[in-house]
């Protein structure tokens, strides 16, 4: 029962990964790609780790640390990349 649950969680996480990563290919702006990437990638990764947590509860401390790290760092990272790339977008618009 728990096995099925953990496997289905991992499969859902991988679906999230594909959903977040597929918009990377294509001619959209950086911020659009960043949005889909940061939301769907982080959620997918957290779901996968949750599935692993159900599968092997003995490593719970490590996996919990990984979840917390993902939640905090990926959010901050999304903000930092957006902040750093926005300058260039404005400059390009001015030139064009």
């Amino acid at each position: 029962m728990i096995d099925i649950l953990s496997y289905s969680l991992m499969v859902i996480g991988i679906i999230f990964w594909f959903w977040g990563t597929l918009p990377l290919i294509g001619e959209r702006s950086v911020l659009f790609k960043l949005h889909s990437l940061s939301v769907a990638d982080t959620l997918g990764s957290m779901t996968i780790i949750l599935g692993l947590l159900l599968k092997i509860p003995s490593e719970w401390s490590l996996l919990l640390l990984a979840i917390i790290t993902l939640a905090i760092w990926n959010t901050v990272l999304g903000y930092v990349i957006a902040y750093c790339s926005i300058d260039e977008e404005i400059k390009n618009k001015k030139i064009n």
Binding site: L37, S45, K55, T69, I81, C84, D87
Partner: protein, 83 residues
């Protein structure tokens, strides 16, 4: 479990392709962010698969450090384009 890992490798190939074909440096950085997260999650999966505690610890450290290094790199690249 093996098929899950192979699906993850397929998901990893998408940002690699993106980093190869796109010419904008920020798109490459996005692809790198995606790859860094994905590889460390794959390491975690492998550590659980093999029941190896030390690999799990290294995976979590790489998850932390990779993200921190990415922020550093983003700020440096921003400085390059400024002047």
């Amino acid at each position: 479990m093996d098929s899950i890992l192979i699906a993850m490798i397929l998901a990893l190939l998408i940002p690699i392709y993106e980093a190869w074909q796109d010419d904008d440096i920020w798109q490459k950085m996005l692809a790198f962010a995606s790859i860094a997260t994905k590889t460390s999650i794959m390491m975690l999966v492998i550590s659980v698969l093999r029941d190896d505690w030390s690999i799990g610890v290294v995976a979590v450290i790489i998850l932390c450090v990779g993200n921190a290094g990415l922020m550093l790199l983003a700020h440096l690249i921003k400085r390059i384009n400024e002047t």
